[in-house]
Amino acid sequence: MDCKIVPSVCSYCGTGCGVLFEVMDGKLVGTMPMKTHPVNEGKLCIKGWNLHEHVNSFMRLKQPLVKTFGRFIKTDWDEAIQLTADRFREIIEKYGPDSIGVLVSAKITNEENYLGQKFARAVIGTNNVDHCARL
């Protein structure tokens, strides 16, 4: 059996507790606190202890979706991306780049936030980029 312990950081609140993911045969089976982490010193809250549960939820989206006549249809990445890019280009051509907004997120990584705002600024050409820090 292929088992491993992977150190990471809890993705709930802003405290940033060190966690260990327990992985068995490619499945996430548990979360433990990292004993020697400077933030949480081997302790976690109820949310941190159960961090793996939302990852494994059957409610997770498993493929891109496109809405057609009010209903979501499962699709692949190429179609979902191409369709969205086409629609965004149409909007930009018609109304200009400031007619697009991008909401990056306090839940994604620094690298992804960096790319998100780069996307808004360099690709779309707008500074309409924000996230839910206020909410």
Binding site: K4, S8, S11, Y12, C13, G14, T15, G16, G18, G26, L28, H37, V39, K47, N50, L51, E53, H54, V55, S57, R60, L61, P64, V66, W77, Q82, L83, T84, A85, R87, R89, Y95, D98, I100, G101, V102, S105, A106, K107, I108, T109, N110, E111, E112, N113, Y114, G116, Q117, F119, R121, A122, V123, T126, N127, V129, D130, H131, C132, R134, L135
Partner: protein
């Protein structure tokens, strides 16, 4: 946070205002308990009786939205007694006179009339805070989600500087961030007015640097905040929206208003783990990989940048958010190609000289590094403003108290405040599907004082109808003395009883554009068939 989480244990006094720490930042409350047990004094000011209140040397339940008056009242007493840090003020700050002039008018009588906190308690708060250095001030959304959010924050800073508590170990002004990477999202320039490391969009030199690095002339027109985007959608100015990992339908201040606005969009694309309320309204949904399925860094509330590591392969046909953005960008005609997040991180740090430049994946290790970290030999910064404030001198602000946008009246006699409970998180997309969290609280509820409930002849679990000027929701009652008569509390996690049907989208801080989630007024009646 100006200071570090572990430093809280070294404080002589801890002042918690507008933070239900044990429920919302449990591992920070650990430090508060430990400090208290080592002998620190604890002051808790919160409109509700929270768990920490039981352990406080003085705990007050000030009226919703009266924080500025409370803090000015404390400063009034501190100055009257000469407890302020005179040398520190003279050497390290400016505009003290303006502050003194304003706080002079906040006599204990006046403060009691506004806040409901009596003179004895106010004096005790002032004395404990001023005479037990170093004092650490902790706050969360209870300070910021107000029409006077910026004023509230400035008042916290005023108090901390008045007693010389900024720039010292164990002290500081410490906002507790609510999302794992809200600090990082701000640091990375996920804001309409700044690029990475808070380099202003308004500075042509900054824009030139980024234009060059990204190979594209960048717009210098200021962008819209999320609060401004909603009216822009309604006016037909904003036509397309790309939402990454957010659920504004539940987290924005006015459900009905936003619902309307989203319908006006030509195209909405949402990138999510779950089919959230917002994703349901989308034209296209991008399925994203979760925390355990990707690499990258996050920056916590104490500015500590740490690496998350991939534990398992993405579930189903999901992709990391960075991969999706790269694909999307490339399809839009701007090629983004990165081997891994480390490559993106290195591009980012090369453009962010003051704060992130000295961090590398190797240096971050498992402990991370706290910014500012300007070069690769820099050990990181546990606390800010050590010998000098970032801006030079610490500026005092003269802040007058202002009423919240809504005050109880005949039609809407109850104060309503909103927040989190311990077992759930934000809009509940992640926690309500987690069996061990769901078991704690499966539905929304409204906290109501038993006296108010008795007046309505409502028992525990009876459904109450809450009505505000915006809308109405039905929600079961939870009887508790944690709220005083006349005050109701609604948790924000539950889509079936959405708080933002009731809260006020028109009321937000003019500068920070943060909505006044913490104060609105409602009427209640018992549901009868």
């Amino acid at each position: 946070m100006t200071n570090s989480i572990a430093e809280i244990e070294e404080a002589g006094c801890i002042f918690v205002i507008g933070s239900n720490t044990t429920a919302c930042h449990p591992l920070i409350s650990r430090r508060i308990f430990r400090a208290k047990e080592k002998g620190a004094k604890l002051i808790v000011a919160d409109p509700r009786n929270i768990q920490l209140s039981r352990f406080a040397d003085v705990a007050v339940t000030h009226r919703l939205g009266s924080d500025v008056a409370l803090l000015n009242g404390m400063m009034h007493i501190i100055i009257q007694n000469g407890w302020h840090a005179k040398d520190y003020i003279a050497q390290r700050t400016e505009d003290y006179e303006a502050l003194e002039k304003v706080v002079n008018t906040y006599t204990p009588d006046r403060v009691q009339a506004i806040t409901g906190v009596d003179q004895k308690n106010l004096e005790r708060m002032a004395e404990l805070y001023a005479t037990n250095p170093p004092a650490s001030l902790l706050y969360a959304m209870g300070i910021t989600q107000h029409t006077t959010g910026v004023d509230n924050v400035k008042s916290c800073c005023n108090l901390a500087m008045l007693c010389g508590n900024v720039g010292i170990r164990g002290g500081g002004v410490n906002p507790l961030r609510g999302q794992n990477n809200v600090q990082g999202a701000c640091d990375m320039g996920g804001l309409p007015n700044v690029m990475t490391g808070y380099q202003p969009v308004a500075d042509p030199k900054v824009m030139e640097k980024f234009s060059k690095a990204w190979g594209k002339k960048l717009s210098e027109r200021p962008g819209l905040t999320i609060t401004d985007m909603i009216p822009a959608m309604l006016e037909g100015k904003l036509k397309g929206l790309y939402v990454i990992g957010e659920n504004p339908k539940l987290s924005d201040p006015d459900w009905n208003h936003l619902n309307h606005a989203l319908k006006e969009l030509d195209f909405l694309v949402v990138q999510e783990l779950f089919l959230s309320e917002t994703a349901q309204a989308a034209d296209v949904v991008f399925s994203a990989a979760s925390v355990a399925e990707k690499e990258g860094t996050i920056t916590n509330t104490e500015r500590r940048c740490m690496r998350m590591r991939k534990a398992i392969e993405p579930i189903g046909n999901t992709l990391s958010d960075w991969e999706i953005i790269c694909k999307f960008s490339t399809a839009m005609g701007y090629e983004m190609k990165y081997e891994n997040p480390e490559e993106i991180f290195n591009e980012m740090r090369s453009l962010t000289p003051k704060s992130y430049a000295g961090m590398t994946y190797e240096r971050l290790g498992l402990d991370g590094l706290q910014w500012p970290c300007p070069d690769t030999n820099h050990p990181g910064t546990p606390y800010l403003h050590k010998d000098q404030f970032t801006r030079g001198k610490g500026k005092f602000h003269d802040i007058e108290y202002k009423d919240p946008a809504e005050m109880p009246d005949k039609e809407y006699p109850y104060f309503l405040t909103t927040g989190r409970m311990f077992a759930h998180f934000h809009t509940g997309t992640m926690t309500r599907v987690s069996p061990h969290l769901d078991v704690e609280q499966t539905t929304g509820y409204v906290s109501i004082n038993p006296k108010d409930a008795a007046a309505l002849e409502a028992k525990e679990g009876d459904v109450l109808i809450l009505t505000s000027r915006r809308g109405q929701i039905e929600v079961p009652a939870k009887l508790t003395n944690s709220v005083a008569p006349g005050l109701l509390f609604l948790p924000i996690h539950f889509g079936e009883s959405p708080t933002n049907v009731l809260t006020n989208a028109e009321a937000f801080d003019p500068l920070a554009k943060i909505p006044e989630f913490k104060v609105s007024t409602v009427n209640i009646r018992k549901f009868s068939e």
